[in-house]
């Protein structure tokens, strides 16, 4: 077998190069976009005039040297596969742009993937050729950009542009030619490049063995660093002790598996650590020792709520790939939110793409497989106007934002999962590492026809281990351990990879079909740690002791030469691991074949207490399950909780400050953290699956921002699910306690607007922290850990008071960048996702004023409608000018709010968030052809006021917690006023229909001249 493969590789071959050029510039949208975006992504050429560009697609196909076969493939490419009436296909020289005007020059940039990098276009090209010819030649893709530049721009500058904008040198190679070089008879531009195959030979003999039992601690630490294992001194000592007891050497496979399984990424050691707390704050109660913030506060809250019988809807929490909650009688919802910060820092596109398809796989692997129905994404990046020159290895925030946006676009859209909600936050603290949160919700039938419980994985000894989906390559080796390190210049490129949404969609279709046919007993995804984690984790479910035996040489690979340890820890994408009962194996493999999904049978689960890995017949790792999963020593850490910073308060945070009301509103609307993201969001599909009720942007033209998202769950009932997100990283620097409160509050505000029933709601926590472990470059580690303890404690208080359990979460604890003396740590950030049941999606309020039919429709559109400003809090402010949050008030308010929603009394609702009250009001009008008239008495303004001495109007920009602007449904004003009589409620004015030209916002403050803004000018400020 091996011999045959080698023979094929050695056979002589030729490479066909094909290009496709647009027949007319009119069809060259890529070129148009490259030029349009140039000022944004390469400001150095901002002032260059007469920019022009053309693009080409380039393909390389490796064909056998045998002439007949080659010409058949060539014909298939020309006549069918690459035929396109608007493009011309060329096997020789493709069109070169006509000569430039004097003083200008055409440059040609060409890029192609580095060997081994996922090339989706190449893969499809190969498949397409096989559809036509029955032959499946390997194929690769590249792209070419011709760009027209003034003579004074030198080759070096063009190469700089190529490095920073045209491609990412981590994954792509590029070449630069000028027009004369391209025209030369022997131009390399038109020669087929050498076809580089990566790989080589590998066998069971390529396993290395280490004498860890007797090695010096320093030598072990060096080894751990060289191999990117990220194991600590204590952990290495525990491993050394283990092998001393065994009296043998450790194989590299064993050490790799241990490093993956014990990594911070997989094991959450900091969240499990015993923490000694020094509490310097009077307003936070903390024990002297916290025995694990996860156990005490996160899981602690959930257990407490469940024990009190307040969460009968929980089905599976903290033990599976995702939290699973009963949402309706027929349907369970699985939810998971992940972060993909380190990969996104290196390659924003690939990082975000694999982030989203990765969390999709978590959902596919929840229970016996959940069907993904919604994605969410949150990006925290540096300011868009950050200096153009940044420290080494850092991408500019503009580039990062565009890259991660495109990653989520391709990951979500191509998978057919709507991206329904999200956020973008800019802050200088995210310059060193962006935060990229990707979340997914999936559906599991609560009561399938065959009566199985689809949330339970069960494995019997003898069940087969089957890996299905993508093949294994070198990509993503050490992702889990790398994410547990700070980012340095030497950060490994193998940690970067690209996703393949097509393969994953095929796996998904197959998985759901196989689930419904009962063809497997357990499933999980291959994410961080690859097979070592997926099989290692599933093995625990087999019998009393757990165990498995797998032969990794049976795994399908992208190329030859992968060493045993690489096969075990590679994080190559799009793979799921199944446990298949022997009697179902044939049917499973048959369906897999028919659905175009590759499967490899790797071995069997066993109740042996041992995880044995073989390469062929040779054992290359033999790990005791007990040591693998429970052998890691716990951490003991110290935390210091400092009193909050004394910051200058005031209603208008400095960022929005303006002396004058008229401008203040326009300025605030155009602030980077407030302004419209429609342009970005409209590139995501948020409609696919036809469930989206409350969408990212409502109102005609999609101009008014929505809060949270509402999805209809079934066609038979009107039940749905509401999602809300909250985070407050800019507050965390001042006071982590308030930041935690506001993150939770924002998630709940958004979900409340989306119709969440607060008595049937759950939370997901995602922590992205700067490194809280002591070290030579980390003087304030104890304070960072202190902030973490306070945050967790406050979230516990909130969750318990509200009766909303945490069901899933994730922590990423190494979000720092260090290069020489430069260190940039992220703002400690917790993202809270709220998910709750919606009783009737038809009653969910709109986010905008607009056509004034209430939720139930059929209203008289010509009548005025009342506007209320509501707050569940007392509108009190602390010494730092931050809002005071009382969770008990939040709870009471949300219950009343939901009752009114169910009653159809609220026609529209929008939460008060970044920018404050008046911004929320203005946002509801965008795109609607309605006018709002607000009237505020001196007494009302007093109540809103944050600080004495500031102008009366300033408080209209304050950002309190649990506050909303709502529009009453027809004839429901009295009911609303009565319901909120004991809360803060302002009868703020009314909405009236208006023509497009007259629509606007009028503000009448007692004792001042009325101010009027034309709706058009508000829209322009907001959309920029």
């Amino acid at each position: 077998m091996v011999e045959a493969r080698r023979a094929r590789l050695l056979s002589p071959h030729a490479v066909l190069r094909v290009e496709r050029s647009p027949r007319d510039l009119e069809w060259d949208s890529r070129a148009r976009r490259a030029i349009a975006e140039l000022p944004l992504f390469y400001p150095a050429w901002k002032s260059v005039r007469e920019l022009a560009a053309e693009t080409r697609e380039v393909f390389w196909v490796r064909v056998d040297a045998e002439k007949a076969a080659a010409s058949k493939i060539r014909e298939a490419l020309a006549r069918e596969v690459l035929r396109d009436p608007l493009h011309e296909t060329s096997f020789e020289r493709s069109r070169i742009p006509a000569s430039a005007a004097p003083g200008f020059r055409w440059w040609c940039l060409e890029k192609s993937f580095r060997p081994g990098v996922t090339d989706n276009t190449g893969g499809v090209l190969s498949e397409a050729v096989s559809v036509v010819t029955g032959r499946n030649p390997p194929a690769r893709s590249g792209a070419r950009l011709w760009i027209f530049l003034p003579d004074e721009i030198a080759r070096e500058a063009v190469a700089d542009y190529a490095t920073h904008v045209f491609c990412n040198p981590l994954i792509e190679r590029f070449r630069v030619f000028d027009r004369e070089e391209a025209l030369a008879a022997d131009s390399e531009l038109f020669s087929a490049p050498e076809w580089i195959e990566i790989g080589g030979e590998a066998s069971a003999e390529s396993v290395e063995y280490f004498e860890v039992a007797t090695a010096e601690p320093a030598a072990l630490s060096r080894l751990s660093e060289e191999r990117l294992w990220a194991l600590s001194g204590e952990e290495l000592a525990a491993i050394a002790g283990h092998y001393r007891r065994l009296g043998r050497k450790a194989s590299d496979v064993e050490l790799e598996v241990l490093a993956q399984t014990w990594s911070e990424h997989c094991k959450h050691k900091i969240f499990a650590a015993e923490i000694e707390v020094e509490n310097q704050r009077g307003d936070v109660r903390l024990p002297a020792t916290v025995k694990g913030v996860f156990k005490t506060y996160i899981k602690g809250a959930t257990e407490r709520i469940a024990a009190e019988g307040r969460a009968p809807f929980l089905r599976s929490v903290f033990e599976d790939n995702a939290g699973i909650v009963e949402m309706t009688e027929e349907l369970l919802c699985a939810i998971k939110v992940e972060t993909h910060n380190s990969p996104s820092a290196l390659d924003p596109y690939g990082g975000a793409l694999t982030g989203i398809v990765g969390v999709n796989r978590d959902i596919l692997g929840a229970g016996l497989g959940a069907y993904p129905i919604a994605n969410l994404d949150v990006f925290c990046v540096g300011p868009l106007d950050a200096p153009e020159t940044l420290p080494p290895r850092l991408h500019h925030p503009r580039r990062i934002l565009e890259g991660v946006r495109m990653g989520v676009e391709h990951g979500g859209n191509k998978s057919g999962i709507p991206t329904v909600t999200g956020a973008v936050v800019h802050h200088p603290k995210f310059l060193g590492k962006p935060l990229v949160f990707c979340g997914t919700v999936g559906l599991i039938p609560a009561a399938p026809p065959d009566g199985r419980d689809l949330t339970r994985k069960e494995i019997q000894p003898g069940d087969h281990i089957v890996m299905s989906g993508g093949r294994i390559g070198k990509d993503g080796i050490h992702g889990a351990t790398f994410s547990s390190m700070e980012m340095k210049e030497s950060s490994p490129v193998s940690a970067v990879q690209l996703g393949d949404p097509l393969t994953q969609k095929r796996v998904w279709d197959f998985l759901i079909e196989a689930r419904d046919a009962g063809l497997f007993r357990a499933v999980t995804d291959n994410g961080a740690g690859g097979l070592s984690s997926s099989v290692g984790e599933l093995a625990r479910l087999c019998g009393k002791r757990g165990g498995a035996r797998m032969d990794v040489s049976a795994a399908k690979t992208k190329y030859q030469g992968l060493k045993p340890y690489e096969l075990v820890v590679s994080e190559s994408q799009e793979r799921m691991t199944f446990a298949v009962a022997p009697e179902k194996l044939e049917a499973f493999l048959d369906l897999s074949r028919r659905r175009g999904v590759e499967s490899s049978v790797l071995g069997q689960f066993a109740d042996s207490g041992v995880f044995r890995i073989q390469y062929g017949t040779k054992t290359v790792a033999e790990l005791k399950m007990e040591f693998l999963h429970d052998g890691a020593p716990g951490m003991r850490l110290k935390a210091r909780v400092k009193p909050p910073e004394k910051a200058a308060g005031g209603s208008i945070p400095k960022k929005y400050r303006s002396r004058e009301l008229g401008n203040a509103l326009l300025e605030t609307l155009s602030h980077p953290n407030v302004r419209s993201r429609r342009e970005l969001v409209s590139q995501y599909d948020h409609e696919v699956q036809a469930r989206s009720v409350r969408k990212p942007y409502g109102s005609p033209g999609h101009r008014a921002p929505g809060d949270g998202a509402t999805l209809r769950l079934s066609r038979e009932t009107h039940e749905g699910v509401a999602l809300g997100l909250g985070l407050a990283p800019e507050v965390a620097a001042i006071d982590p306690k308030v930041a935690a409160e506001l993150a939770l509050d924002e998630a709940l505000r958004n979900a409340a607007c989306a119709g969440m029933d607060p008595s049937h709601a759950v939370l997901v926590d995602n922590f992205c922290w700067p490194d809280p472990l002591p070290g030579p470059h980390n003087a304030d580690a104890e304070e960072k850990l202190g902030a973490l303890v306070v945050t967790c404690q406050r979230l516990f208080d909130g969750a318990v008071e509200l009766g909303m359990p945490f069901v899933s979460g994730k922590d990423s604890m190494k979000n720092d960048y260090r290069m020489g003396d430069v260190k940039i740590s992220v703002a400690p950030t917790v993202l809270i996702t709220a998910m709750g049941k919606v009783r009737d999606v038809r009653l969910v309020p709109r986010g905008h004023a607009g056509q004034m039919d209430g939720p139930r429709g059929h209203a008289d559109a010509s009548r005025a409608r009342k506007i209320y400003w509501l707050s569940g809090q007392e509108l009190r402010w602390d010494g730092a000018g931050l809002p005071v949050v009382a969770f008990a008030r939040t709870r009471r308010f949300l219950a009343k709010f939901h009752d009114l929603v169910c009653d159809g009394a609220i026609a529209a609702a929008h939460d008060v968030s970044d920018g404050g009250w008046l911004v929320a009001m203005a946002e509801m009008l965008l795109g609607t052809e309605t006018s709002a008239r607000l009237v505020f008495t001196e007494k009302m303004l007093q109540r809103l006021r944050v600080q004495p001495g500031e102008p009366a109007w300033a408080s209209l920009f304050s950002e309190p917690a649990t506050s909303f602007v709502i529009l009453a449904a027809e004839d429901r004003a009295a009911e609303i006023e009565k319901t909120f009589a004991s809360d803060v409620i302002f009868d703020a004015g009314e909405i009236t229909p208006a023509g497009a030209r007259d629509a606007g916002l009028t503000l009448e403050l007692e004792g001042a001249k009325p101010v009027w803004w034309r709706l058009k000018s508000l829209e322009e400020a907001y959309e920029g």
């Binding site: 069809w27 949208s29 890529r30 148009r32 976009r33 349009a36 596969v81 690459l82 396109d84 009436p85 608007l86 989706n120 276009t121 499809v124 090209l125 397409a128 559809v131 676009e409 859209n413 191509k414 998978s415 057919g416 949404p501 097509l502 969609k505 095929r506 279709d509 028919r594 175009g596 409209s682 590139q683 995501y684 599909d685 948020h686 409609e687 696919v688 699956q689 036809a690 469930r691 989206s692 009720v693 969408k695 409502g698 109102s699 033209g701 999609h702 209809r712 066609r715 999606v841 038809r842 969910v844 709109r846 905008h848 607009g850 056509q851 004034m852 039919d853 429709g857 059929h858 795109g927």
Partner: protein, 274 residues
């Protein structure tokens, strides 16, 4: 060329009118599309492309409507809908054409439309029809206003009911409709083959055309997603909320129009001629 009218129309009220929705290889709207067919009255089923290729002619027996739904077949690589069309063309060898010629209806939505264009279904218009990258080079998700400007069995009942415009979501990166010959385009428009037209120029399509019909209106391809508007609350602003008054949302109404075409064929006493 001339189809046999009523050939696929059923003969008895008890015989359900069947719709088949294709799935697999990256298509992703099959579920809601089949549901919209069912809402309209069809007995709808979903069939994986690979199974369809195995079954060949048999797959379409007793089927009145075949829908290629939206999605990203083959990841949109090498041109949207292109490889799906190659696979259908090579794998089914004329089955679809025979189906349409003998009276069956064929609907391509978004990626399905792109596949139909690549299959050459609209060649009768006298030139190549291409759906290429949006003029702005970006994917667009938004609800758009559409005028009814032509004829097809999917829109005839709407027109008969006095509907002149509707709103549906578009979600595409390659929806710019191009005719390779201007004269053929003008003739197609004159002849009512351009079934829907965007009210705004959203993607640079020729004459803002969003949908085409062929084979006497039994074949339609459109970029907007009618299956996404099956219930009033899915419309992002007020005007979609009339659904309670007994009307069906206009997205489903397009499937209903096709259903009525087949059902009334039965009422007229059309006979199975094959």
């Amino acid at each position: 060329m001339k189809a046999e009218p009523g050939a696929r129309r059923t003969t008895s009220a008890r015989v359900p009118i069947r719709a088949l929705v294709v799935a697999g290889d990256g298509l992703n709207c099959e579920k809601e599309t089949a549901a919209a067919c069912a809402d309209a009255g069809f007995r709808a089923s979903i069939l994986h492309l690979n199974d369809m290729l195995l079954e060949g002619e048999r797959a379409l027996q007793g089927v009145s409507l075949v829908v290629i739904p939206g999605g990203f077949s083959f990841g949109d690589e090498l041109g949207s809908g292109k490889i799906l069309a190659l696979k259908l063309g090579h794998g089914l060898k004329g089955v679809i054409e025979r189906f349409v010629r003998s009276g069956g209806a064929l609907l391509g939505i978004c990626n399905g439309f792109q596949a139909l264009a690549n299959l050459g279904v609209f060649n009768e218009l006298g030139c190549d029809v291409v759906l290429t990258q949006n003029r702005g080079g970006r994917f667009i998700d938004r609800w758009v206003g559409l005028e009814l400007t032509g004829a097809s069995i999917f829109t005839d009942r709407l027109r008969a009911a006095g509907v002149t415009r509707l709103e549906l979501p578009i979600r595409h990166g390659e929806g710019r409709l191009v005719f390779t010959e201007e004269r053929a385009a003008a003739e197609a428009f004159e002849a009512g083959r351009c079934v829907l037209r965007y009210e705004d120029d959203v993607n640079g399509s020729w004459n803002r055309v969003a949908a085409l019909s062929a084979f006497e209106g039994r074949v339609m391809g459109l970029m907007p997603h009618p299956e996404a508007f099956w219930s009033g609350e899915l419309h992002p602003w007020g005007s979609g909320r009339g659904a309670e008054g007994g009307q069906i949302p206009l997205g489903v109404a397009m499937f209903r129009s096709a259903y009525d075409y087949f059902r009334e064929g039965k009422r007229e006493g059309g006979k199975e001629r094959r």
